[in-house]
Each structure stands twice: as structure tokens, then as C-alpha cells.
């Protein structure tokens, strides 16, 4: 299996690169044409297509990592136009990693949705596939304006998915979410067109080539354009103070949608990382590392905000939302340093934390259903402690820690055990405690901060003030999130003696277990994965290969051209 998939990918390349975009589009069209009553067929189709997408993404990952590919990079010239003129698709290690992450979460979320959530509204499956198409397109495109188009596809589908299930809370937070994203799209357009005005190109690789050549009097404009563009991405990445929309929107969404949205903040981070390393890498001349301090600072503030928010919230789904903030802040702050080792560690941390947050969104839904015995939480239920009165006094009749003899010898129902274990595991990953992947990622980040040149050489390199701050924040936010999630776990699992055992569908427990199993796999395969992310980080910080691979990609030679007829129609005289 491990050699078969890359082998297949190598044979079908480069056309397989189109599959992550075309396959969801095809499935979306198919499900759109089916009648709304054929939910089961649609569900089967959706699951099959998403599973196939995961296989394709894994194959692409293997292909991108193979040594035989030139610099681990695939370039697809759409319409057979050479690079700066046509729109290119580019696949490298980072985009392949994001594709696999997205497909994994998407598959788990759709299986979870299959038990009940997909029936809560119309056209769920179509919107879901379109969302996947937008995500894959954003990861694969090598063109700034095409990125905008894929962003809009992704966002349009996400508006529909967020509103799926309707209800007052969803419509209200959806309104805020749409308004802020439309404003962000305007910023995106302004930034992209300004960059075009200054450099004359929209191709990312060509843009990177042009940045060092920009005239000194235009540098201010270039930086303004980059900052405006970055603001659009920072809104998507939910950086403080641009993130007030995230927690209400994500917690109002149905659980599988919330889990899928856990990837959406990472899209903003991915594009920031891609464009920033391309345009303002160390070879960008006067504007090298422009804005790095802003990324660092904003990321650290977001980390602090996310951790404090986790402490402050009572509902598990709100905690999951704040955990998404914490994760994206951590990634962003680490990216801002522009340092190979740190970026590699951050790229290892990113998939693990995203998987755990997606699992947390699914778990939160199950826990809240269990707690309310199946009745949906009212929209105005707010963010109150589940077992306390508004005055923070335990409700009467609740067994907190007296009457312990009742609990002795009682078998824990399997479903409750599964929920508790899953909660514990995602807590470990998010807080960064051993033995799971969160710890490995955080440890790698800390050691990269202390030893930027690698473990072997520690002579006299100091992390600096920003480094020490990030180091302190990494540890402090880990502690805060651990406390917050443990407290919620104690409330929901240990103080549950008078509730019935949770009733869990197998297809609800399975995706949660699969997401956490992926975290375990990341931990077990930490060595190879870390080598992979190191290669990805090195490629990011030395964008020469990317630029050359894209700009030198040759169109496929067609069959021998037919003899050209004399171009009478084009001469001015003949036209008249």
C-alpha cells in the first residue's frame, strides 16, 4: 500500500493534481442534480468521494515527497499556457500536507454527519463538496487572483454550511460572519490589484521574482499592498483583534461543520506562510522579512487571548472554538520568526492540533446532547456552567463528591468511557502534554527556539526577547488550556452520576476515534513526519526552487501545427 499509491501517483502525474479540485466539483454537481429525498444515496456518494479524495491526497503527498520529483514539486500549466501568463497549479510538500489534513478531517466529519446532522437542512452534501473544492483549490493554486476565486468558493460554501440547520443563533452569527468575510474579500481585492499595479504580475512565483526589483520609491506602496492583503488573510486566520466572529460562528454551526471549519483558519495561515516566505524571504532585498514582527506579535496576542478564552468559557463547544484560536496563534507566532527549524516544528504541530480541535468539536456535540438528554440546547442558553446556578452554587440534588459509595463498583458504560477517553486525549494534544503529538510539536518548537541551529550546535545563540516571550507563552497557554479542559472534563464526566448513560451511534464514536488515532499515528511516526516537515520548511525558506520550477515549466508540445493560413483578417487593410 505504501509503495503502491505513490507509484500510481507517479504514473498519473501531473494530471492527478487536478483531482482534488475536480472530484469534489463532480460530486457536488451529481448531488445537486439528485432529488432531496435521496439522502442515503447522496450520503454514500459524499462519503465515497471524500474517501477517494483522501486516497488521492495521500498519493500526492507521497509523490511530492519522493526524491525523484524535481525538488518535491509538481507544476500543472492549465490550458497549456506558460507560467506568468496562464494560471498554474503548484503542488509542494506543504500543500500536499494541507490536502491530506483537510481530507482526513472531512472524511471523519462526513461520517459523523451521516447519523443525523446531514438531514437538518437541504443541499448539505453539495455545499460540503464545494467547500472541499474551495479548500483544495486554495492549497493548490499558484496565482493570486485564482486564490481569491477559490477563497470565495470556499467562503460561499461555508456560509451555506454555517446556516445549515437554521435557528436563531446560526442566522445571527452567520450574519456577522458573512459581513466580516465580505469586508475581508474587499481588502483581498485591493491588496491583490495593488500588487498587480506595482509588479505587473499575479503569479506568485513571478511576484516573488519581481519583489527585489521594485524601485525604491515604490517600496512603500508594495509594503502597503502586502499589509492590506495580509489583513485579509489574518481575518481568515482569526488573529486577535480580528477574531470576535469565530467563537460564536463556529459554536453555532452543526458539529461536523464546526470540525471542518477547524481547517478554515489554517487556510489563512497557509496562504500567509506561502506568500510571506515567497515575497519577503531573506532574498527579498530591501523588504526582507517585512512584517515578521507583526506576525509574531499578533500570533502571541492571539495565543494569550485563546488560552484566556478557554478558561473563561463553560460550554465545551466554546472551548473548542477558543482552542482553534490558540492553535492558529501558536502557528502564526512561530511562522513569524522565519526560521527553518521553528517552521519545521510548527508544521509538525499544525496537523496534530487541528485534528484534536476537530475531534473536540465532534465531542462537544455528543457531550452536550448527553447532558441535555437529547434535547437541543436553546440558543439563548448562553455560556453558563452546566451544573451550577448563576450564582455559581451547585444545583440541589447534584452529586458532586458526596455519596461516593454509590459509584463504587458501577460499571462505566462503554460510550461514556469512549467519550471520556477521547476528551482526555484531545486535552493532551491541545495542552501539549506527553505522550501525544502536541507534546512532540511543542517540544520541537521550544528546542528550535533555544537552539535555532539544531540540537548539535548550541554555542552562544540566544532566543532574544521575542523568543523568550514565545517560549513563556507556549508553556503558559499549555497550562491554561490544560486547566480549562480538565475542569470541563471533571464537570461533564465525573459529576454525571445521576444521568443516563450516553447513547452513541457507532458512526459517531468512530470518527472521533479516527481523528485521535491520526494524532497517535502522528506521534508514532514523529521521526519521518518531522523529516518531511523539515524538508517542507527548508523549501519554504529557500523559495528559489519554487520560483524556478514554476517559471521554467514548459507547455506540453502539441502535435505538429497545421500550416498557418495567411493572416488576412488581422491586417488593418483587409479588415476595412
Amino acid at each position: 500500500m505504501s509503495t503502491l499509491l505513490p507509484e500510481l501517483a507517479a504514473r498519473s502525474m501531473p494530471h492527478l493534481m487536478l483531482a482534488p479540485i475536480v472530484l469534489p466539483l463532480f460530486t457536488a454537481t451529481l448531488t445537486l442534480l439528485m432529488r432531496e429525498e435521496r439522502q442515503r444515496v447522496k450520503l454514500g456518494l459524499n462519503i465515497a468521494s471524500t474517501a477517494l479524495g483522501l486516497l488521492i491526497a495521500v498519493a500526492l503527498l507521497g509523490w511530492a515527497h519522493e526524491a525523484s520529483t524535481p525538488a518535491g514539486m509538481g507544476v500543472y500549466l492549465q490550458g497549456n499556457w506558460a507560467a506568468p501568463f496562464g494560471i498554474v497549479l503548484v503542488l509542494d510538500r506543504l500543500s500536499a500536507l494541507m490536502l491530506v489534513l483537510t481530507s482526513t478531517i472531512a472524511l471523519c466529519a462526513i461520517v459523523f454527519a451521516g447519523t443525523r446532522w446531514h438531514r437538518a437542512g437541504v443541499h448539505f452534501h453539495t455545499l460540503y463538496q464545494l467547500q472541499l473544492m474551495g479548500l483544495a483549490g486554495a492549497f493548490l493554486t499558484g496565482d493570486l487572483f485564482n486564490l481569491f476565486v477559490f477563497f470565495e468558493i470556499m467562503l460561499a460554501a461555508s456560509y451555506g454550511l454555517l446556516l445549515h440547520g437554521s435557528g436563531r443563533a446560526r442566522v445571527q452569527s452567520g450574519l456577522h460572519y458573512i459581513a466580516i468575510n465580505l469586508a475581508a474579500s474587499s481588502l483581498f481585492l485591493i491588496g491583490a490589484s495593488m500588487l498587480y499595479g506595482i509588479t505587473g504580475t499575479l503569479n506568485m512565483a513571478d511576484l516573488a521574482r519581481c519583489v527585489p526589483l521594485v524601485a525604491p520609491q515604490d517600496l512603500g506602496l508594495l509594503h502597503a499592498a502586502a499589509a492590506i492583503l495580509a489583513t485579509a488573510f489574518l481575518i481568515k486566520a482569526a488573529v486577535w483583534p480580528l477574531n470576535f466572529w469565530l467563537v460564536p460562528a463556529y459554536s453555532a454551526a452543526t458539529a461536523p461543520v464546526g470540525a471542518l471549519f477547524a481547517v478554515m483558519t489554517k487556510v489563512g495561515i497557509y496562504t500567509l506562510l506561502r506568500l510571506w516566505t515567497l515575497m519577503f524571504g531573506s532574498e527579498a532585498g530591501a523588504s526582507a522579512l517585512f512584517g515578521g514582527a507583526w506576525l509574531m506579535g499578533a500570533g502571541m496576542l492571539t495565543m494569550a487571548f485563546g488560552a484566556i478564552g478557554m478558561m473563561a468559557s463553560q460550554r465545551p463547544v466554546h472551548q473548542a472554538g477558543f482552542a482553534a484560536l490558540l492553535s492558529s496563534g501558536t502557528v502564526l507566532a512561530a511562522a513569524g520568526f522565519g526560521q527553518n527549524q521553528l517552521t519545521a516544528a510548527m508544521l509538525y504541530y499544525l496537523p496534530g492540533s487541528t485534528l484534536a480541535i476537530a475531534a473536540l468539536f465532534l465531542l462537544a456535540d455528543l457531550i452536550e446532547r448527553w447532558r441535555t438528554d437529547g434535547t437541543a440546547l436553546r440558543a439563548d442558553d448562553g455560556d453558563e456552567a452546566p451544573f451550577l446556578t448563576p450564582e455559581l452554587v451547585p444545583r440541589p440534588g447534584l452529586n458532586l463528591d458526596d455519596e461516593e459509595e454509590v459509584l463504587v463498583g458501577r460499571a462505566i458504560p462503554a460510550a461514556a468511557a469512549l467519550l471520556g477517553l477521547a476528551w482526555l486525549m484531545s486535552t493532551l494534544v491541545i495542552a501539549g502534554l506527553p505522550p501525544l503529538s502536541g507534546f512532540v510539536g511543542k517540544f520541537a518548537m521550544l528546542s528550535a527556539l533555544l537552539n535555532p541551529l539544531g540540537l548539535g550546535s548550541s554555542a552562544g545563540v540566544q532566543p532574544g526577547a521575542a523568543g523568550w516571550t514565545l517560549l513563556a507563552l507556549l508553556i503558559a497557554t499549555g497550562l491554561l488550556s490544560l486547566m480549562a479542559l480538565t475542569r470541563a472534563g471533571m464537570r461533564n464526566f465525573w459529576a454525571a452520576s445521576e444521568r443516563l448513560a450516553p447513547r452513541l451511534h457507532v458512526l459517531e464514536g468512530l470518527p472521533v476515534a479516527a481523528l485521535l488515532a491520526a494524532c497517535v499515528a502522528l506521534t508514532l511516526g514523529a521521526g519521518p513526519v518531522m523529516r518531511f516537515t523539515e524538508a517542507a520548511a527548508n523549501a519554504l525558506h529557500a523559495p528559489d526552487t519554487y520560483i524556478r520550477a514554476v517559471l521554467q515549466a514548459q507547455p506540453v508540445a502539441g502535435p505538429a501545427p497545421a500550416p498557418v493560413p495567411p493572416a488576412v483578417g488581422l491586417t488593418p487593410g483587409a479588415a476595412r
Binding site: F145, F148, V149, E152, L155, A156, Y159, L163, S166, R168, V171, Q172, G174, L175, H176, I178, A179, L182, A183, S185, S186, L189, I190, A192, S193, M194, Y196, G197, G200, L202, L570, P572, A575, R576
Partner: protein
């Protein structure tokens, strides 16, 4: 010509941002529309050949076929795409706006109004 275009973009953006910051959903959708008009004009002005005053937008007979004599075609393509997407998104926002109005019974963006507020209806 430059000053007229700059003024138009500036006025549209200013009004758009002001309306965006208002608490009523209708004002927000108007603000978003104005903002997208401003952005479309801005994309036009970002052509590589300046504002292209008096230059042909499409191929014309009798004009030498090089970029000296035509407007930059790329921003036009970008604007076309941006207009289409912008319209679709505005339409979608309108639907959500109506849904919110129907569910909450008020056109305040938060779905509720602070008690005793003196907001113009």
C-alpha cells in the same frame, strides 16, 4: 481624470465604511455594495498602463496592435470576475438578512436592541 477617479473611489469607500459600522442590516448591505463598487474602480485604476484615457478597450481596426495603444486587459478581466462574485455574495447576504429579520423581528445586526436605545428606526 485621475483626481476625479480618486475622489470617486475615496467617497465610495468612505461612505461604505461608515455604513458598514452602522447597527442596521440594511445599512450594512448598502455599505458592502458601495465598498465593492469602490474596489472595482480601484482595480481598474491599477492597470499597468496608467488610467488609459482615450485608449481602446478592445481590438479596433486601424490601431497598431501593441499595448501602447490599448488599455491593459487584465484588470478588466479581474473586475469582471470580482463583479460576478460580489453580486452573488451580496445576494446571499440579502437572504441571510431577510432570514434574520424574520426570525428576530428586528433589523438590528445583533438581533436584539439594547433597552432604551435611541436609535433611529
Amino acid at each position: 481624470m485621475e483626481i476625479v477617479l480618486a475622489l470617486a473611489i475615496g467617497v465610495l469607500t468612505g461612505s461604505g465604511v461608515w455604513l458598514l459600522l452602522r447597527p442596521r442590516t440594511f445599512q450594512i448591505i448598502m455599505g458592502l455594495s458601495l465598498l465593492s463598487y469602490a474596489v472595482n474602480l480601484f482595480i481598474f485604476s491599477m492597470g499597468r498602463l496608467g488610467l488609459a484615457v482615450g485608449k481602446e478597450p478592445v481590438l479596433a481596426a486601424g490601431v497598431p496592435q501593441d499595448l501602447q495603444h490599448y488599455a491593459d486587459p487584465l484588470p478588466q478581466a479581474l473586475v469582471l470576475t470580482a463583479i460576478v462574485i460580489g453580486f452573488a455574495m451580496t445576494a446571499l447576504f440579502l437572504v441571510v438578512l431577510l432570514a434574520s429579520r424574520g426570525i428576530s423581528g428586528t433589523d438590528h445586526v445583533d438581533g436584539t436592541q439594547a433597552p432604551g436605545s435611541q436609535e433611529m428606526p
